[in-house]
Symmetry: D3
Subunit: 318 residues, 6 copies
């Protein structure tokens, strides 16, 4: 836009040197685009929008649990109407966002507009069909929280008040998009939950039914984690990758299974850190603040004394 | 609603199989309601609404601290008018929510509508009278933060910027509802604070004046915790229940006093975890990351070396 | 306002004893003001407003990254117009807030209105000129996240989804205000980030280019921290002050350099706690959950065995 | 509220004498209430709310013509869902308003709460059933505008652009409430149309199908007017009551049929004024600015020369 | 701003030639400013804002009639609080607008900032004191409508539904500003009423108590009109200036008394036009569509035959 | 959608027979669509949206007069930025609406998507280029009002307060779309003005510079009207088509020039009605309430005596 001459001297008595700032920012953007080989990009917004996705998720959540998380003026007699309309709108908003992601994904390929559109519609159709199943899975999570927390007064209180449930609603939706290869949309959804709850579950994580996170702040669950049924975790638990593999050549292989497998009925107490592709056997219990980088046998109980400090036992006790 | 025939074949060319999704979701809800013995429920929303409570709390907070957290256009000469009107509206919104909780609480009893209404009004009257006291208690918290944090420039900065203060405003209000047995409303209020600050205080916790939480993310304070005056805690401190009582019969007794007693003038540094009905004596200091499951004498100083690892001293030092 | 007679008996049949509550709250405020020697204060709001600052920051962020974080309807051809107008508005809103802070700062001095205004304008001019530099610094952060996280699909995904990036956008803006001595505005901005991301960076912290925080919940970085270039930290890392200096006289000296210096290319894994004015040498790696209160040599690797528990090695290993 | 002492001297240095104004306004309200014998009224809002009714009408209009006046994101496949939900909400809002009117109507009677509620529900049920008929009647109006105005490009343009159609949508709804004796709600609806279109149709007016008002500003149609089918009127037409009945005793009998009867296929041009219970016969045409206070035979044509000035013909032509 | 070079050739592939349009509009504005001798104007908005005034009027109206036009959630027990706060805010918004008008009014004089501020405050104080009187006057208008219209069901219906009452609320407020010489603010208020009701009353018009306008669309009441008590007018009545004084020198003298004087108890029916400084005597009745440019004796009755067409009587009747 | 079985008996205990209403409305819509031969229509909204156009016009007006009708926080130094961004957004919104109109216009033709898009872009480009000219024309209108109304205090007051100016802003924009054959968008814009001002100008009317409408309520200006420069009209003036051509065959020819030609410097007073393709010669004056259906010579003065009643002169005067 030649109208903006960044080399001209601005002589107007503005409070702020606005023209200089605009030029400076344009140069900064230009420098960035050059560094990314994008200086020739022209056109409108081409990335999915977190705020649009956030609105669609609000609608979706409201339609999944209409009488409890839906609008205050909802009556049971208008439930199906509400659900149908609200989901219809939300699906079309998400279709627009998935369309953006698909175009972005294939921006260097030479796919026809029809092929891209078909891909976006295919993803969204598959997603839409999954909604009743997602609702049923979430019901198991609600039930697990009610059963697992003696402080929970009712299943309704759980749905209204537990951040772990909110995080799982977002996650089960995000995971569906992840499986359908709309990974950017999936990530945006995961971050919506992270920001509200302090619970950071990568959309790739596979989580079985009846999963319960109590308190939740600081929980991190990595991309290739596999969690069985009826698992319970507390605040600040990390299911992460082993960050510094000593015996390897140093090059991190992307996409490798690098997070824990947690089998059915495991309980992991607050602050525990489990790293790497280890397996926590069915029914095991991991104590608070435990630091674990190896497999745990089914049914066993790991506290600080048996994990982090076991080397001291060995060193000292003998 | 027979108009929705879920067994009929939908033959319209919709992008999304909306009718099938609506039917699928209805079935999921039905299954859930049957599992909860609620299939005959009819009627409108019967649970308190987090968004309504959130709005009422915004008003209440604004009226408690009108010149600092109230509307930008407030003048000191309209302070009382603003306070009176705003609290009047907020109390009536909360009355509607408490009414919902009372009805929900007694949904299986056969109380008359008048009895339920009397109960709701009684709760709200008691709550309303407590407001000046709550404001004064919060002033002690603000003062404690100012005195306790050398980085705090003024009491006003504390009120505007410290998430620990925000969490306490919500908590002191929530605790009042908890004591009045409006526990669902209380929980919803506590979660509003948790979501904004990362500080998770159960509304049941009894907290004395001059309480200060610094940074705050990850703090968890359990339901039966009792905290004295002038106590200070840092981020990621847990005052929790002992989750795996080894010597017991395994059945968790709900409502038992199961969280710590923290006496006056205690300081608990970041990441410390104190579990069970232990007593931290007056003036004690608990170091960062300490893991504590036993009583601490008044005035003592507990660091990692004296707590978590004491067994190693014993094992190795001999 | 004599019209409100707090000693008169209210005899009207209100549901809530509103007049008593208003009087009670007035007395509570009066008591507080007396305790702060402010009973004679008259006038309007005189503190910066978090909500006004929040709106201005939204605009600023949108203008810094117009095509990715700006409005959905933005076209590249209107980019400069959008940037110029949006920044113009945001700067004026911030000027009003800085003006409030300046007046508040010098409320006990006898500066002329002109002097105060000059001070506010001077701060804002200096801030405005820094914007292109801030944008370029943030580009290095985005790049660092993309390079440092094998899970990151693109630089755009990083900008849209990573809370660590969002926290750094707020921080680099807040730090500018901190340097210009608008410390209350700076703190308010820092808390906006803290509330959204769970990452608590004091605006005073000096952070080099290419800084990357992964996951981020629970990270705390103190006021006098100095961080070099290309540093990476994970969730729940604390760069704090040593909270209980045993050998001193007990009086905390405000403003002292009391937080760590982290040199270039350091990596600090999740949960590590580094306290006091220690130096982590260039290229060092600090393992998860490590508790560190002493210097670390360049290039070294500190895991739990070499830090927290080193005393046991010494005690036992002999 | 004794707390507000209106006789006390205000001595605070307010910019505005707010306490005096509040007291003055309270006295003015008190004086008014005494003059209306209402000084003992206590309680909340007891009148229907124009803004609530306005919102409900917006919803209703949107649901009556979903693809043309409904939300921009509506798809035909979600039409029924949208209609069902939107009408469900609107009917409940209107039920609340009708309830207020019923209570107000019978405020001096001693009806039980159940009887009042039954009355309100009865009105709303009858109204709800009428909606499909109202839609079909409005379709005839749209068609009449399209056929009657050579400038109309399509029936869709008519629905989107013609204020006469908008006025009729409001009127046909308002008239239904009028017939059901919810006359205050009906009047409020009529005024919503009046304010938007400048067309003032009393909700009591009976109007046949295929009614078309062109331009419309200044049209006034009185309460007991009866209009046949396929009638057309232009701007500033008045169908009013004869305001000064010479031969009567001067006492206006409320509820009397006092406005014109306009039979089928009549056309009334701009500015014509027809007053009193006269009959304009089928197919007659009334010219612009005509002033008419007597019957007109079917099929006749009345211009200024044959109406207003007929006395001059008589006087002069002899 | 030299950065915008309007003479440079734009070569970017925009859909719209935005740079050219911006330059073209700038030139158009420049041409206008030169034509108005304002090319050197620099600075922000210096005119009162219709939208700000509109918001303030909404508040004021709500506070003048709190239980009927106030917020739906208002209770009588919070009435005074609501009134005090709402008026306090509205007065300060209006003070800001009056300040703008005062500065604009004296923009060519050399008044000190203090003198301008004093003037603005003086106006607003005088206005604020008038509010209780304005409310009482409006009560007489409401009563007049109720008494004067047999169709009015109650005084409350009148206040909720009659556009003539709404127009008078705005007028009595606007007239106060007019008398205080804040004529631009007054005009803006008058136009707010005009737009909503189609009733155009110049803020200068002096109108006695008990004034009733029925239907109202098209009513025009000029600046120097004087109306007595208990006067009633119908739609499309004009009380205007004689627009083409034949016998004069053609130069219109601004500020002259040029509109009618309407004495007490006069009734003017729809469409009547009364022009010039004529006097309609006490208790006179003016018929519909009458065209009047001369005085009317008290108690007389003027219909079309006695006014517009009197010349024909004279010409023909002889 | 077979899921909605309209012939099934609803047996649920709803307050409102919602399913029946939904089915009834569906049938009403179906009947309408069949009557319009549209029963096979499928798809989303395909008509321009009044609310979208309304928003775009608000932006456009704000950008045409940025310092007077723009946002309150605008500074002259950000004027061009604001104008560029705001117009950019508004043009794209209007492009979307014009696109809808073009598709609707050619819905029965077989034009390619590209051809339709080209047509829409062509219209909008032509429109966009016209904006500076439109602004300059409007400046002449503002000036005319200032000069023509002795009550106008300043040109700024005229722009802020005169509904005639607002109507002309909408008209000059609408007329541009009319000329470019986007007639539905043009009509929607015209109705936005009509609703706000009571002034109904068909977008087809050709109006010269310096046009001034005073008061304005009830003004109607027809599609083929041609108005010269410096013309002034008052409220309730009609420039219409002769509605009942007696000597013709009864079939109205659409598109014929059927409204008046008003030459330069004509003044038309309130309530005058001018019908048919007559010419009002340069400098003529038409008196109030005059009814005119024939040409008027330049410079002549027409009052009621010389127009409506001339036949009486002839009849009686002999």
């Amino acid at each position: 836009m030649p109208i903006f001459k960044c080399d001209s001297k601005s002589d107007n008595p503005q409070v702020f040197p606005l023209d200089d700032i605009v030029c400076g920012l344009r140069e900064a953007r230009h420098k960035w685009r050059v560094s990314q080989n994008r200086q020739h990009e022209i056109g409108g917004r081409h990335l999915p929008s977190p705020s649009a996705i956030s609105d669609a998720l609000d609608s979706l959540i409201s339609a999944l649990f209409p009488m409890r998380l839906g609008p205050n003026d909802l009556l049971q007699e208008t439930e199906d109407y509400y659900v149908g309309y609200t989901i219809g709108v939300a699906l079309n908003v998400l279709l627009a966002q998935v369309r953006l992601e698909v175009r972005y994904q294939y921006r260097n390929d030479r796919l026809s507009a029809e092929a891209l559109e078909d891909r976006a519609v295919e993803i969204m159709k598959a997603f839409s069909i999954a909604l009743p199943r997602i609702r049923s899975q979430l019901d198991t999570d609600v039930n697990a929280a009610y059963v697992g927390d003696p402080a929970a007064g009712s299943v309704d209180e759980v749905l209204l008040c537990y951040p772990g449930i909110l995080a799982m609603i977002y996650h089960r939706v995000a995971h569906e998009f992840y499986k359908l290869d709309a990974k950017l949309v999936a990530r945006i959804i995961a971050e919506l939950a992270h920001s509200q709850t302090g619970i950071d579950i990568h959309p790739g994580a596979q989580i079985g039914e009846g999963f319960f996170i109590d308190h939740g702040t600081g929980v991190v669950i990595g991309e290739t984690t596999i969690i069985g049924e009826r698992v319970r975790v507390y605040q600040a638990v990390t299911l992460g990758a082993k960050s510094f593999p000593v015996n390897e050549d140093g090059s991190l292989h992307k996409g490798l299974a690098r997070h824990p497998i947690v089998e059915d009925d495991v309980v992991i107490y607050a602050g525990a850190t489990i790293l790497g592709r280890v397996t926590i056997g069915k029914g095991a219990t991991i104590g608070g603040n435990v630091w674990l980088t190896h497999d745990v046998a089914p049914g066993s109980f790991v506290s600080q004394a048996t994990s982090r400090d076991e080397r001291f036992f060995q060193k000292c006790g003998e």
